[in-house]
Subunit: 169 residues, 2 copies
DNA sequence: ATAAATATGTGCGTAGCGCACATATATAGT
DNA sequence: ACTATATATGTGCGCTACGCACATATTTAT
């Protein structure tokens, strides 16, 4: 009976991701890690192929082909990175627009599940989830991975720590 | 700032599903809806191809091929259904064993995220999630879909309603 | 100046899935 | 009873998303 909570959270998470992924596919016409890639690339300027690979948890070639698809969809451009071997990934105007749609669709999908709760209940839930995340043992890369779909316009101070293994002692 | 809760739940759900899917792939060596199919087939005796299709949200042919893979992995058998055109899907002994591993792996994956909370916090969280699920407007088929990975040994009384659209009036 | 590390791109194969079509059985209408 | 329709499954074909192994270019270390 003590595992009931794990089962409930598992079921809720599945329902949440089903809705997020369905919306994402409708927005960008693609599945897998492609929507997440668009969001991650838009996070800052000059994302490289290799950093993207580690954040998405894909193989190198898988990432190159994923970027190929984004480029052929005119959502992303490959520019020269300062390092000469690096490729700097930049969103096109259309890519930035799709990214915004994607983020809005995701928030809307989750909100539609949440709005059966009262405002007080939502606040309670937010506090619990924030604590849950804040106490995880995550590295900086883990955080990027978990937050690869996050809306940076909404999530001001991410609760996830970024110092796993830093006091290696 | 009011969307913060939606973003948090989205991030948590992604983290939960990442871990569940990774564990499932390690157990059955397959991804996509294949692990869920194994769980659903084990739910009761004589699941049909068509019911499975609707629960998993796949196309008809996709479902047939999915079952082909389960059969070739010796996890599932196709037996004659009473209806003559139906196929009755049954787990083999090895399929039932894999299913149990799958369920255990899922509970363990979620628990590893949850155990940073105190017992009281987990109880609070369980209450909130149970309420959230109980107030959704779900049909019986929606419920099967959301619960397609659920552990029936753990989830005694599912909070999800099953009466969407029954008072059509 | 050479070796090793880093970053990207490519040939090839596979898993997972959908569309359109074909087939078999059951049910309904006359 | 006989045809028409609905239901359930299987198949040919193609595509998307991905990984492995290999090749290439640039940077850093010795």
């Amino acid at each position: 009976m003590e595992n009931g909570i794990a089962n409930l959270l598992g079921a809720l998470s599945l329902a949440v991701m089903d809705r997020i992924e369905q919306g994402a596919r409708e927005v960008v016409g693609r599945g897998g890690e492609t929507p997440a890639a668009l969001i991650v690339i838009g996070y800052g300027q000059g994302m490289t192929n290799d950093k993207l690979r580690r954040i998405l948890g894909l193989s190198h070639s898988g990432t190159v082909r994923l970027v190929d698809r984004l480029v052929s969809d005119r959502l992303v451009e490959r520019r020269a990175g300062k390092d000469g071997r690096e490729v700097a990934l930049h969103l096109t105007a259309s890519g930035a627009a799709s990214r915004n749609e994607l983020l809005a669709s995701r928030i809307s999908a989750v909100t539609s599940l949440l709005d059966v709760l009262s405002s007080a209940e939502r606040k309670q839930l937010a506090t619990l989830i924030r604590e849950l995340l804040a106490r995880q043992d995550t590295s900086e890369m883990d955080r990027f991975t978990i937050c690869r779909m996050c809306d940076d316009r909404v999530c001001a101070n991410c609760p996830l720590p970024t110092n796993k293994g830093q006091h290696a002692r």
